[in-house]
Amino acid sequence: MRNVTVLTQRELNAQFYSPIAYVVLAVFLVVSGIIFGSANFRPGAESSVRVLFSLVPMTLVFFVPLLTMRLLADEFRSGTIETLMTAPINDAEVILGKFFGALLFYMVMLAATLVYPIFIAAYGQLDTGMAVSSYLGMFLVGALFISVGLFFSTCTQNQVVAGVCSIVLLAVFTFLGDYLAANQEGTLRVLLQHLSINTHYENFTRGMVELSGVTFFATTTILFLFLAVKMLEFRRWR
């Protein structure tokens, strides 16, 4: 566990040294600002953070992979994986350290959006419960996205390949799930809805924390972390 903390700390520092992270942070804030502004500053519009929170995961599909694509791909490309994995640290600790490092940076990103609920609270009426459940939802979505990004970063030494693969997979499960489900019937429809990230996330933005939603995000996150550990082992066996 000590190794995980050491690596998490290094990863978080590395994010802050990286220009990509700052660009992602800045663009994320600009985009969320535009969404917030266009949803609230219209005559007759309800002043609420609901629209913002329901659209954020869509933008994360593009932003999170930019943060995670480097994680292992860069270690493989530069060869630092060799010095890292000949130190007394095992494969699972490496993956967890990287995961928590990215997750902490993601939480910094989320913290920067706190300005919007604070703004609403100051000038209107904030539904605190809904805001809290939305943040929980965004946290869970982020953790899942990071684990998917991390998995693809473990598969290749090319950051761009890792990033594009993550974006494609996440986009399919975020955007297409609802769309495909709407055109199906019966069990297939239910199945597709259950696989759709948006279906699960929407409940959080309505202020509902459902066990099925939390379980969905937690288990898929763990699944991808597990796959990442296996992929790391596999690449060393080759």
Binding site: R2, N3, V6, L7, R10, N13, A14, Y17, S18, S78, G79, T80, E82, T83, L84, M85, T86, A87, P88, I89, N90, R236, W237, R238
Partner: protein, 317 residues
């Protein structure tokens, strides 16, 4: 310190190393062992297996008394490793990097700081210890990598081509450092530069095409190949007479003669390890000829290397 038994590693069906066995013990091999071979011989693969980075396909190995496969974490605690390209995180500062590595090795704050001071001094990092690694030259990075390998005071240090890409001064400094390290650590270094190994190693293991071809002290290996030496002599006299007289000296197996301006340049191949220079001199003075050069060419590891790789190429064809 290192015991390797029938180690095999295959990438798909292609073996990178096959049935590699050797052993490194301070009392028989000394502390600095050179792992010598041409590029692509399997040197890095072997080192990666011994440092627990890659598992082998077959065979077994122990390092510092621990099994590489079953006691991987114990092995890792007892080794330092500098890979060929000296990979580092460019965004970190040297001190920051060494601190991170020290933490990974579970060193407490006080120990860590002392260790960093020790390796800083040892690897001459003083002036750039607080500089970002991205600003350092190749030679400096190599030193940072070496400092990292020494940080936790490991029993065995693996260095993969430690002098590659350095300038001549840095090469000399690195070699001196390796010799110093041999006083308290076992150093296992790979190289394709023969005179480097001859200079600094107490024991040499030859690998080519994934197989161990020879091992021993550099001097013994030289003896092995210099069974039969070559003499160059320049003698003034009647060419035919000189050639036949020299050929009659016991031990001479072959002779080549080139004549220019009355001087005969003879290349004499001799059997055995005996020195026939004196015989040649006595012959020349008895016959009243003149002698202006006589020298013995002792085979170097270079010759051995060339011979071995040529044989291998022959075998493959």
């Amino acid at each position: 310190m290192i015991e390797v038994n029938k180690l095999t590693k295959r990438y798909g069906p292609v073996p990178a190393i096959e049935d590699v066995s050797f052993s490194v013990r301070a009392e028989t091999t000394g502390n600095i062992v050179g792992f010598l071979g041409p590029n692509g011989a399997g040197k890095s693969t072997t080192i990666r297996i011994l440092t627990c980075f890659q598992p082998a396909t077959g065979g077994s190995a122990t390092v510092a008394g621990y099994n590489v496969f079953t006691q991987s974490m114990d092995v890792r605690r007892n080794i330092g490793y500098l890979p060929e390209s000296a990979p580092l995180y460019p965004e970190m500062r040297c001190r920051e990097y060494l601190t991170f590595r020290g933490k990974l090795h579970g060193m407490a704050r006080g120990d860590r700081e002392r260790a960093i001071r020790r390796v800083t001094e040892r690897c001459w990092l003083g002036e750039f210890i607080d500089r970002p690694i991205s600003q350092l030259s190749k030679g400096m990075r190599q030193r940072v990598g070496l400092a990292d390998a020494l940080l936790h005071n490991p029993k065995v240090i693996f260095l993969d081509e430690p002098t590659i890409g350095l300038d001549p001064t840095q090469i000399r400094e690195t070699r001196r450092l390796i010799k110093e390290l041999g006083e308290d650590h076992v150093v296992f270094l790979s190289s394709h530069i023969l005179h480097e190994v001859e200079q600094i190693c107490t024991h040499t293991i030859f690998i080519a095409g994934g197989k161990i071809l020879a091992s021993g002290a550099p001097a013994d290996l030289r003896q092995e190949i210099s069974a039969g030496s070559r003499l160059i002599a320049e003698i003034k006299g009647e060419p035919q007479a000189v050639e036949s007289a020299v050929k009659a000296i016991p031990g001479v197996s072959a002779i080549e003669c080139e004549t220019s301006d009355a001087w005969n340049r003879l290349t004499i191949e001799a059997n055995g390890t005996g020195d026939i220079r004196e015989d040649v001199f006595k012959l020349v003075s008895a016959k009243g000829w003149s002698l202006r050069e006589i020298r013995r060419e002792v085979a170097s590891l270079e010759d051995f290397f060339i011979k071995i790789t040529a044989e291998q190429r022959g075998a493959r064809v």
